[in-house]
């Protein structure tokens, strides 16, 4: 190899070394640059990570600390995740319960499920969705839900929602509605059964139970009487089957009636006061109905499960109790009044019947008593006839006395019959001219010449049976005539018009009546004279007639000074 060639190779090698050096330099520079970029990148990544962590824990915090229940579910309703508030609301034991939310829906609201899912998927969210659920422990709750779909790579994979328990809000509205409805329903009702029936049906609806009974205190018997029930206790006619009567102080109901304090029994099997009515039920709620500080009734409701009723419900029932107290009180009074009226009607009917029977009896007795008198009279006449020539005057006189006695007896029987007949027949609305009645009487009655009978003022027309009015005046006037002992006798008949009645007077100048007899003479069989023609019934008849006209009778008289009989007759 020549030098020239060597030099050529040396030159090429040098050139090659230089270019490699330069390439290395570039590479070094680029590598440094890359390192820098990488370092920067790493820093930003760390920053990003911490940022991500921060966000995530923030979210977790929100998720856990949110007051409302927060639930994430898949699109079939299976629970994926929930917070403690949700666990409480749904009454699960742990947050890891993987139940399907759909199974918690109250069967009553099952129809709401499908439309709500459709809306959620179509719109990606649903708001203000209200549904009734039964918690894991079976308690009924109303919930309000706002929910939205969770997407992954633009595909819906689940949903998250905030659930709010609005049971107490709804209950508050329901309480007010129930109270309103009860108040409205009992308005204008007077029948206790009708009122109680309305109340029991509202209460069972409110308590969501199947038994409610309203009791009323029976003061006389010191017991509680079942007025109206709801549920199993009714028969096909809506009447209470096997009504039970509970003495005050006995059983839970009886205790409440006695103490006036409400009771809420969580487990009746542990309360030995519990009285089984138609069935054993484990929860009982009992409140008194109090009026003027006195227990007048009790509202009692039962439920099959233990620990069913709440204090809010107790309070509500107490509210209903005081709301209906007045109404129940007046309904009880109304019922009492009706009972009394019914009793009166019955009594009146019985009285009418027995009056009628008495009337018939009086006629029969009168006939049976008079018949022998007739026979005696006939027999005596025949003895007299057959022995006309044999009897002396004294015997004939005695026969005369027998006949007189028979007449007196006959009169007595007639008077008693008359007395017992007064008032028995219904007085028709007859207008009677009393003036005419007395004028006619003056013609009928035997008035001796030495006695003057005068009507001082024209007597009025009165509503009443003519026969009775005639009997009234006849008895008084004929008494005045019969007993007058003066040489010149007078009888004055007068009337005074008062506001609502007429006051009549019959004045005579006869022997008068001692004050001590003034009341006695109106009593039956109280004749003051042992006269033949006086049965002692005449004034009793007078008084009976006056009473029949809602009037009064009295007299003013002194012995030997004559007498004035006053009586009033309603216009």
């Amino acid at each position: 190899m020549n030098l020239k060639e060597i030099h050529k190779w040396e030159k090429a090698l040098a050139q090659e070394k230089a270019s490699r050096r330069s390439a290395e330099k570039i590479l070094e520079k680029k590598s440094a640059e890359l390192k820098e970029v990488n370092r920067k990148l790493e820093a930003s990544h760390a920053e990003l990570l911490s940022l991500y962590d921060k966000t995530h824990s923030q979210l977790q915090g929100v998720f856990e600390n949110i007051v409302d229940a927060y639930v994430i579910m898949d699109l079939s309703g299976n629970i994926l995740k929930m917070n403690d508030a949700a666990v409480n609301l749904l009454e699960f034991d742990t947050a890891y319960d993987e139940r399907n939310l759909i199974t918690l829906v109250d069967p009553d609201d099952a129809s709401k499920i499908i439309p709500s899912f459709k809306e959620l998927i179509k719109n990606g969210s649903i708001t203000n969705f209200i549904i009734k659920i039964l918690t894991a422990k079976g308690r009924s709750k109303s919930v309000h839900i706002n929910a939205s779909i969770i997407y992954e790579d633009k595909i819906a994979v689940g949903a998250q929602g905030i659930v709010r328990d609005i049971t107490s809000d709804i209950e508050k509205v329901f309480v007010i509605e129930t109270l309103n409805n009860v108040a409205k329903a009992i308005l204008g009702k007077v029948d206790i059964h009708e009122i109680a029936s309305v109340i029991t049906s509202h209460i069972t609806q409110y308590l969501n139970t199947e038994d409610c009974v309203i009791y009323v205190v029976n003061e006389k018997r010191q017991t509680l009487e079942q007025i109206e029930a709801y549920g199993n206790k009714l028969n096909e006619f809506n009447e209470i089957k096997n009504k039970i009567e509970i003495p005050l102080g006995q059983g839970i109901v009886g205790t409440v009636a006695k103490t006036g304090k409400s009771e809420l029994i969580k487990d009746t099997s542990k309360d030995d006061r519990y009285i089984i009515d138609d069935d054993i039920r484990y929860s009982e709620i009992t409140v008194p109905i109090i009026s003027d500080g006195k227990v007048i009734g009790v509202i009692d409701s039962e439920h099959l499960s233990k620990d069913y009723f709440t204090n809010e419900q107790l309070l509500m029932l107490e509210n209903i109790g005081s709301l209906i107290a007045m109404k129940i009180k007046s309904a009880i009074n109304f019922r009492e009044r009706q009972k009394v009226e019914l009793k009166n009607i019955k009594l009146l009917e019985e009285l009418e019947k027995s009056n009628e029977a008495l009337q018939e009896y009086a006629h029969v007795v009168s006939h049976d008593l008079k018949s022998p008198l007739r026979s005696i009279n006939a027999l005596i006449s025949w003895i007299q006839e057959d022995n006309k020539d044999v009897f002396d005057t004294s015997s004939l006189e005695n026969f005369g006395l027998i006949e007189m006695t028979l007449e007196k007896m006959e009169q007595l029987i007639s008077d008693i019959l008359l007395y017992s007949s007064i008032g028995s027949d219904d007085t028709e609305k007859q207008h009677t001219d009393v003036n005419q009645v007395v004028k006619d009487l003056k013609k009928i009655l035997f008035i001796p010449r030495h006695i003057k009978v005068d009507i001082l003022n024209k007597l009025p027309v009165i509503v009443g049976e003519r026969a009775k009015l005639q009997q009234l005046f006849q008895n008084l006037i004929s008494n005045a005539i019969k007993f007058n002992d003066k040489n010149k006798g007078f009888i004055e008949i007068d009337v005074l018009e008062k506001k609502s009645f007429y006051q009549f007077s019959i004045k005579d100048n006869g022997p008068g009546i001692e004050k001590k007899y003034h009341d006695k003479i109106f009593k039956i069989f109280h004749s003051l004279n042992a006269s033949n023609s006086s049965s002692g019934i005449g004034l009793a008849i007078v008084k009976k007639i006056v009473n029949l006209f809602n009037g009064e009778i009295w007299l003013e008289s002194e012995l030997n000074e004559g007498a004035t009989f006053y009586f009033t007759l309603k216009k």
């Binding site: 006939h367 049976d368 007739r374 009279n377 006939a378 007449e407």
Partner: protein, 137 residues
Amino acid sequence: MHNLKVLLVEDDMIEVMKLTRAISTLQLPHKIIEAGHGEAALELLEQDKLNPDLILLDLNMPKMNGIEFLKNIKNNIDLNYIPIIIFTTSSNPRDLQEVYRIGVSGYILKPLKYEDYVKKIDSLFNYWGMNELRNFK
């Protein structure tokens, strides 16, 4: 004056005596047949074909009382033409109304005094003796 055949339905023996005595005192030509109660009277009418011109009927009687007897006769086509006069002591307005409703020819109250009784019997037979009474059979 016709000679009447009179059926007296009366349970009281003295009442029967009164009527027969009154008839004989008054020297009336009528024939009196007595029955002690409604059933006996019905027997006389239905079985024995008594065919009286007039029936005098007391109301208060044992067994079949006067009103029952009256209804019986008025429901019997063969007998319901016979004039019946109630002869009683009872002035019960209810009885009075009922017997007239069923259909009687008179209602006479027995008076207390025998002499009044004789007068009433006299007028009664004077009146019915004047009437044309013939059997419709």
